[in-house]
Each structure stands twice: as C-alpha cells, then as structure tokens.
C-alpha cells in the first residue's frame, strides 16, 4: 500500500516536530455563533438579575382606597397602584374627624386588623373612633389619614407598611388631589426596601409629620 509507506515514514520524523505540534495544540476556539449565543445568554441572565434586584429593591405595592358611595352605605373599594389615580372620600368619625381611609393586606391573613393613623392636623387628639361605613376585616392593615383641611389640597403623606415576612420595610407616599369637589388618591412613590430585624417591623411608627 503506497500511502501506508508514507504514513510509516511519517512516524520517523523528528521528535521536535512531534513535540512542537503536541505542545502547540491550541485550545478549541468557540464554534462560529457560540460567542453570540454565550453573549445572548449572559445578557438574558444579567437582565433577569437586574429585574429581580429592582423588584426586590422597589417592590410593587398595592393598597385599597376607600370612597363613599358603596352599596348599602358601605364604602366603595378601589385598588390603588402606582401611577393610578383612584377616587377617595373623606369619611367622618364619631368624634367628628374627617379621614381618608386606605388598607393593605397584613403579613398574616389570620391576624387581627391593624390600624395606623397619619395626621397633618395639628390639633388632632391622636384618638380615632370608628369610621362610618368602614368595617375592618381580619388580615388587613388599615391606615387612616387625617388631613389638615385648613390647607389647600393636594395632601401628601408617607407611611411605612411593615413587611415582617420579607424582613424589610419600604416607604410608600400617597398624594390626594381635589378636582371639582372630588378627591383622588395616587400612589406617588414606593421607596427601596430597607432591611429590618425580624420582630421590629410592627414597632415601626406610622409616619406622623404633625406629631411631636
């Protein structure tokens, strides 16, 4: 076999030639298109990580805003999310205070209703009696905002809904505007989460700009 002789003769070539070819065996370079695929996968991973990070830092937060005019004297509930303006009403308490009412789900759906008050009115006593038309449900946190009606709208307040289950708290800002005698609330910002120690969140005070 003619080729065989050449093949056998190849076997006798210099060690240096063999060692050179063996030593210079380059690493496999990526197949065509592999680099693009790897880059695409890396970009997708990075995007996913960023989205997760943003979701973690700037969580979506939804609360319920209450307005008068529901069925059988009950308040009408509307979901209040960021960038969404929903109608709200001033409700009267037995003591004659005027309040806006909001609520959001509690960490523990079986927990008793939790209530917080944010007030701008300097002469507010700090005590809030039951609000007509609002019946507090189990597993929800209720937030009552007492505006200073001597001031012109818009009214703004910030509060810190505790989220003990995720060990963090975020600042939520709400703006209430008035147009033609009707109030509308808007969730204007939700801050990044601030880590908290477990068990501490429930002790966090509701923001009370008017309090001492």
């Amino acid at each position: 076999m003619k080729g065989e002789d050449l093949l056998l003769a190849m076997g006798g070539i210099d060690d240096a030639l063999i060692a050179g070819a063996y030593a210079r065996r380059p690493r496999r370079s990526p197949r065509p298109g592999t680099v693009r695929r790897v880059l695409t996968a890396a970009c997708l991973c990075l995007t996913a990580v960023l989205v997760l990070a943003v979701c973690q830092l700037f969580p979506s937060f939804a609360m319920t805003a209450y307005a008068a005019g529901g069925e059988q004297g009950a308040a009408a509930c509307t979901l209040l999310t960021a960038g969404n303006r929903v109608p709200v009403s001033l409700f009267q308490t037995k003591s004659g205070d005027s309040v806006f009412v909001f609520s959001f789900p509690a960490d523990d759906p079986e927990a008793q209703a939790w209530t917080g008050v944010v007030y701008d009115r300097p002469d507010f006593s700090g005590c809030l009696e039951s609000v007509a038309g609002i019946s507090e449900e189990k597993g929800r946190c209720y937030l009552y905002y007492v505006p200073d009606l001597n001031r012109e709208p818009p009214y703004r307040f910030t509060f810190y809904p505790p989220q003990e289950s995720v060990g963090s708290v975020a600042a939520v800002s709400v703006t209430i505007t008035e147009a033609a005698g009707a109030y509308a609330a808007e969730l204007t910002s939700v801050s990044r989460r601030i880590p908290i120690r477990k068990g501490l969140s429930l002790q966090l005070p509701i923001d009370a700009p008017g309090s001492p």
Partner: protein, 186 residues
C-alpha cells in the same frame, strides 16, 4: 513529575516509572491509539504495549523528548495492530481516510518498482515540514502523525473544516512535488 525524573525511574528499573508515565501520558497515548484504531479495548492494549515498549527500550535509550518517544511507540504499535488485525475492515478509524489522502501525493512515475527506504522518505518529509510555517506544519503533523480528524483540527485552530481540508490538499500537492524533485517514486 517532570520527564527527566520519569526517565530516571526507568533507568533505576523502578516500576513507579510505569505509574508515572501512565499518570502523565496515559491519556495522550490512548488518544493517539484510539484515533488510529477507533476501538477502546484495542487502544487500551496499545497503551499497555507502549508502557512495555518504553520499559524495554529505556535503558539503553534516554529520550530527549519523552512525549514524542512514547507517542512514536504508541503510533507504531497501533499501526502494527491495525495491519495485523485488519482493523480497517471494521469500517472505522481515521487511518483509512488518512491513507487514501496520502495516496494522492505519491508520485505516479514509471519507476514504481523501486522501494524507497523509509529513512530517505522520512528525511524528505522532515525537510518539507521544516520548510512550512509553524501553523501549517502543525496542522499537517496533527493530521498525518496524530491522525486527528479534519473537524477536530479545524475546531482546534478556529478555522473551518473546508479551509483545513484545502490547506492539507495544497500541502500534499507541495509534498508530492518535493518527493518528485527528490526522485522518490513508488
């Protein structure tokens, strides 16, 4: 362990030399044998033959390049095995392809009855290879000494298989001219 220490173990007739060789060059020898034989068991046996061959030939030899020395033993053992057992009849292995490719560069001159001594042929091959740029030279050696597949070589050098094949084709043509120039004919 470096090569000189392994060679010293052979010279001391220490069986640790075999273990050291196997640890450092086992895969290398196996891959050479496997590319020729395309059979696990045959390749393993070839590697064992390599260790035995090294044991028998060191001493008196003291190879300057242990990898090439072992590679040559493995390659010869695999080719002999291939010839003896007609492994190519199993329809696999690079050897059939490599042989058919090398047929092309044997001059088809009239004086075919003369059998060229293998050493003379090797000398022309070496001269030809030393005259090539390193990359082309290494590609040729990888194809016809290590018997790597064209696809593997192409992937290793980051070039297409067709480019590798055409480069090898051009090199074979050059080699044929060199062989003709040297008056080598089969």
């Amino acid at each position: 362990m470096d090569d000189s220490a392994i060679i010293n173990l052979y010279w001391q007739r220490s069986e640790a030399a075999i273990a050291a060789t196997s640890g450092k060059y086992g895969r290398y020898c196996y891959s050479i044998a496997y590319r020729i034989l395309r059979n696990d068991q045959d390749a393993e046996e070839c590697v064992n033959d390599t260790y035995l061959g090294a044991w028998k030939s060191i001493p008196p030899n003291r190879p300057a390049c242990l990898s090439a020395f072992l590679g040559k033993i493995t390659r010869n053992a695999a080719l002999n095995r291939c010839k003896r057992e007609a492994v190519e009849k199993r329809g696999s292995g690079e050897i059939k392809l490599v042989l058919s490719e090398l047929e092309d560069c044997i001059p088809g001159a009239a004086g075919m009855e003369q059998w060229i001594e293998s050493k003379a042929l090797t000398a022309v091959l070496e001269q030809f290879l030393y005259g090539q740029p390193p990359m082309r030279r290494n590609i040729f050696i990888r194809r016809y000494w290590f018997m790597d597949s064209v696809g593997d070589i192409a992937a290793a050098y980051g070039i297409s298989a067709s480019k590798t094949a055409s480069l090898l084709f051009r090199m074979r043509k050059c080699l044929k001219k060199d062989l003709e120039k040297e008056g080598i004919a089969f």
